[in-house]
Amino acid sequence: MAGPYVPGATVYHFILDPRDGRTAYAAAPHGSEPWGPAVYRGRAGESLKATAHAPKFKDGSGLAVTRVWHLEPGPADEPETIYAGVEPAALFRSEDRGETWGDIDALNYHPTRKDWQPGFGGLCLHSVLVDPRKPRHLLAGISSVGTFESKDGGRSWTTENRGVRAEFMPNKYPEWGQCVHKLTWDGSGDGSIFQQNHCGTYHRGPDGGAWTEVTKGLPSDFGFPIAADPNRKHTAFVTPLIGGENRVFPKGQMAVWKTANAGKSWRRETKGLPANAFMGVLREGMSTDPEDPIGIYVGTNTGQLFASRDEGESWKMIANFLAPILSVNAGVAK
């Protein structure tokens, strides 16, 4: 094991850029918490350095970035493009590997913004999907605000929350306001998407439109990460917790649940995962690698990292005694 990198800092997201298998990016404070947000970049396995500039709102907006939550590589043929999701919720794009950033105005100053309210974890834009088939097709997930979609590279956005429950709102199916926890592409590659929400788990088909709730069969509505098998269509993994009021595994048994049919049914996998384990998994705490069969990696908020090499059927702890794990990202290093 190498590291620690950006020692002492709270690293919200740490990724290996799949486009080259060599560049690592991290979202963390500049040095330490008081000094503002930063994006770090470096060669995987070597030290990281803060880029020249962190994402910033434009002058006069009255807004200021407090934290970078998520980093998402751009299209394969734009190796220097990277997106950042931040708090208070906004999306920025860099075309120079994070050295400078541009506001995605149409989302960041969306007409609904004045009514956006933070969830318990903060008003964060934590999920960014870039369609590998059509790079101008983007989706963004914001806690307590919902999912937004753009088909023109970010110039315009629509709310995409039909079918998603918001049990904490008077109208349980509002146009927006849902508490999205994580979005990820379905490995089908046809544009289908999985969503883990505060209020359930969902799947949206290739033609877009309304979400289908697929929570049935899971022990709860609530969880944070959702990770898909990039090589198997309709296959994804979740780690349900008891609920928002108690963010630990049900019955103290760590479990990863798998669907192979877009959520129509789920299978509970616990082999090699601990019982009497009252802990949880955070939003970026699960990742799949691109190998076939995949490797699946889950990190807990008590500092254990588990891995499966048999598509989730069995697990092994591969690291312990870490700080609370905020981010797990798996890839092939070159």
Partner: protein, 60 residues
Amino acid sequence: MLRALESSFPGIRDRVVDEAGTRRPYVNVFVNEELVMTPLGEVALMPGDVVHILPSVAGG
């Protein structure tokens, strides 16, 4: 002062204030050992003033 320091220490302004010009939480600025409680833009510095920029203590 922060803008003047920026030429010698690029990025320092961003460490102390955000893009809206607000002092970052947990960053304390002292002038002549007195904690500045007003917005930084309202502070008038005089020749000879000593400025400390320190993070708040945070622990147990």
